[in-house]
């Protein structure tokens, strides 16, 4: 009957094995989705603060180098590009350094988690904790396919699925059951596997020493809730090189901030805007060209808002511009606070004198980063982001007032001189980074180790095909 017919029309009898990481294999059965997915390789669109082009954030805003002094992000930080580049970009970033062998380099294997459908495959093969163990370079030969079908889909039914343990565990920690969500919620939760704040917990009972991927949602998802969570477990990502504050790094809390906005309130999912329906020759399908919706306003916004595209774009930019004003004000305050705190140390301040100042700095910068790191958040939820930034401003000013008093006590009662950090290069020089060396190491890695990884992966994948052919021949 027709019902069955439609069932078969939409669910082709695809022969894809579970956790198949190669998008092209899925693409044979779902060419429209695959072809649109491939378009995430396009880097031609630039918006006011987003888009698909490679944008060097440190160059656009050298303040960041100071804020992250002593931490990897001060070496290299770009805006996210399309999913197609996930693996390429993690190869290239200076943050992963230039490993020369499987046990070398600054980063743990956990860094791979959000970059590829090879991840669920490998987790399935070796176990989750085992996956997170060891150096980043230790699994380089295993992970080669950029984010794709197996990250979000079940190979048999094509249903949306959660492929990453961290999200399931985070729901658990909040006392929620991720298997009880609606279909519409799934249309955001597939993204929440990656577009969320995270940290590496090395003290999980039974897994001590492994940098286990955890989403810090136990106390809630607001900036203050996560801050409380981290304060409680006395966690810090690094110690600031200038101020010596115990810092937190916020990474893209995209899902958390989206939830506080009016679109989430109205049941609009990530997919409604970033993967709207598209018609090609009478066939409708979900556009897998995930990108800035401003490059696709007609399908992404005008479905619900019958405003002119120019006006809608201006709505977005206006919110982004307004929030950026406060964000940049807070940034400048933080730069001053770090450098002034350094002056205190230089003049012989004691730990005890610095204690509460450093906590203020930690909290102020956490709030700044929470607001800044989720690139979409200034549109997704401008009122919440403004609130968070204001609370950051309050803490930064507290720090600076205390610093002024302390400096006076230490005999220095005047504005602290600020270094020239007008360009990325100058700022990196100020904090003493040897960029030449870092770049050189990366070059060597790309000449030596990387080609080996790719060759091993190629052989592995070819073997799968042979196995499959011989299996179906049986």
């Amino acid at each position: 009957n027709r019902k069955n017919e439609s069932k078969y029309k939409y669910v082709p009898q695809a022969d894809i094995s579970e956790n198949e990481p190669r998008n092209a294999v899925w693409g044979e059965y779902y060419p429209l989705e695959y072809q649109s997915y491939l378009q995430t390789s396009d880097t031609g669109f630039v918006s006011y603060q987003g888009g698909s082009a490679m944008r060097d954030m440190l160059e656009e805003d050298p303040n960041l180098v100071i804020l992250w002094a002593g931490y990897g992000f001060s070496k290299d930080y770009n805006q996210g590009r399309g999913h197609y580049y996930a693996v390429e970009d993690i190869h290239n970033t200076l943050r992963t350094g230039g490993p020369t062998g499987p046990n070398d380099g600054p980063m743990p294997a956990t860094c791979w988690t959000c970059k590829s459908p090879d991840v669920p495959r490998l987790m399935n093969e070796i176990g989750v904790a085992e996956f997170y163990s060891g150096k980043w370079a230790g699994k380089g030969d295993q992970i080669v396919n950029p984010i794709g079908c197996a990250d979000c889909h079940d190979a048999n039914s094509m249903k949306l699925k959660i492929s990453r343990p961290a999200l399931i565990e985070a729901f658990d920690a909040m006392g929620k059951d991720i298997t009880k969500v609606t279909h519409q919620e799934m249309r955001s939760l597939v993204c929440a596997q990656c577009h969320v704040e995270y940290y590496f917990n090395k003290n999980l009972p039974g897994k001590e020493g492994t940098p286990y991927l955890v989403f810090p949602w136990k106390e809630g998802m607001r900036a203050e809730d996560m801050e409380k969570y981290y304060d409680n477990i006395e966690f810090s990502d690094w110690t600031h090189q200038l101020s010596r504050a115990p810092m937190l790094k916020a990474q893209h809390p995209g899902y958390e901030t989206y939830l506080t906005g009016v679109h989430a309130d109205r049941g609009v999912s990530c997919v409604d805007c970033h993967m709207p329906y598209k018609s090609v020759g009478g066939t409708k399908f979900t556009d897998h060209h995930i990108q800035s919706p401003l490059n696709n306003i007609q399908n992404a916004c005008q479905v619900c808002h019958r405003e002119e595209a120019e006006k809608l774009k201006e709505n977005v930019y206006e919110r982004q511009r307004k929030v950026a004003e406060s964000r940049i004000d807070l940034e400048k305050m933080l730069v001053k606070a770090h450098i002034e705190a350094k002056k205190c140390w230089d003049l012989g301040a004691s730990e005890q004198q610095m204690d509460s100042i450093l906590m203020d700095i930690r909290h102020a910068q956490w709030r700044w980063d929470y607001a800044a790191a989720a690139h979409g958040a200034t549109f997704h939820s401008p009122v919440e982001i403004s609130r968070v930034l204001s609370s950051g401003l309050v803490r930064a000013q507290e720090a600076r007032v205390k610093i002024a008093r302390l400096l006076a006590e230490l005999g220095y009662n005047q504005p602290v001189e600020m270094p020239d950090i007008s360009t990325k290069e100058k700022a990196q020089e100020y904090i003493g980074l040897d960029m030449e060396k870092l770049r050189k190491e990366k070059e060597l890695f790309k000449e030596n180790l990387l080609p080996e990884w790719l060759e091993q992966a190629k052989q592995r994948q070819e073997k799968w095909d042979e196995e499959k052919v011989s299996a179906s021949a049986k």
Binding site: Y277, K284, T286, V303, C304
Partner: protein, 204 residues
């Protein structure tokens, strides 16, 4: 020729006069109707064109206070938008019909859309909202939309779009603000205009 001759009445019967007079009066009547009802303005897209006729003011005012004011004018809903020819054909036909009823003072207290018009409106709802009511990824919103668009009118559920729940000529008490029949712009009263001009010159 002879056939033609026989077709007309005999010359002396005075039919010519009758015909001339009646044709002239028909044309005249038409012109009168057209003038009386501002038929020409009816061809425009300005909603105020519809309120040339007080019968339309209750619907105008309710539209003015509706969610659709900023997006849909009368013609966006009540005139076909499938092709230009149909659009103007429908407008002209409809306009003459309205004008005739109006001039004859035959308007009912509560006006109903004709079936023909209903179809037009229904298609227009869908024209704007097609994605919301057909696209699979919005079925979470309201699952029945896909079928509803075929077997019932949108406004059987969305009863307030865009004219509200009350229908009828007397439902709006004072249709004051928007009436083009009352075009004298006030905005600033004369005494105040004078005051301000004086005050301006005194400050120079």
């Amino acid at each position: 020729m002879s056939l033609f001759k026989n077709f007309f009445p005999k010359k002396r019967t005075g039919w010519r006069t009758v015909a001339t007079v009646s044709i002239a009066s028909l044309l005249g009547l038409g012109a009168f109707i057209a003038y009386e009802a501002h038929v020409v303005s009816y061809l425009s897209d300005d909603p105020q064109a519809c309120v040339n006729c007080h019968v339309m003011t209750p619907v105008y005012n309710s539209w003015m206070h509706s969610s659709h004011r900023e997006w849909a004018s009368c013609n966006d809903c009540h005139v076909p938008h499938d092709n230009i020819f149909n659009q103007y054909y429908f407008k002209a036909k409809d306009g003459l019909y309205h004008a005739t009823i109006f001039t004859l003072r035959a308007e009912p207290e509560v006006i109903f859309m004709r079936e023909e018009s209903e179809e037009v409106v229904q298609n227009n709802c869908i024209r704007c909202h097609v994605q919301q009511v057909t696209q699979a990824n919005y079925t979470d919103w309201i699952e029945s939309h896909k079928s509803d668009r075929l077997d019932r009118t949108c406004w059987s559920c969305h009863r307030t779009v865009p004219h509200g729940k009350l229908h009828g000529l007397s439902t709006v008490k004072y249709n004051i603000a928007p009436l083009p029949t009352n075009q004298t712009q006030v905005v600033i009263p004369d005494w105040l205009k004078k005051e301000i001009n004086e005050s301006k010159s005194s400050s120079k």
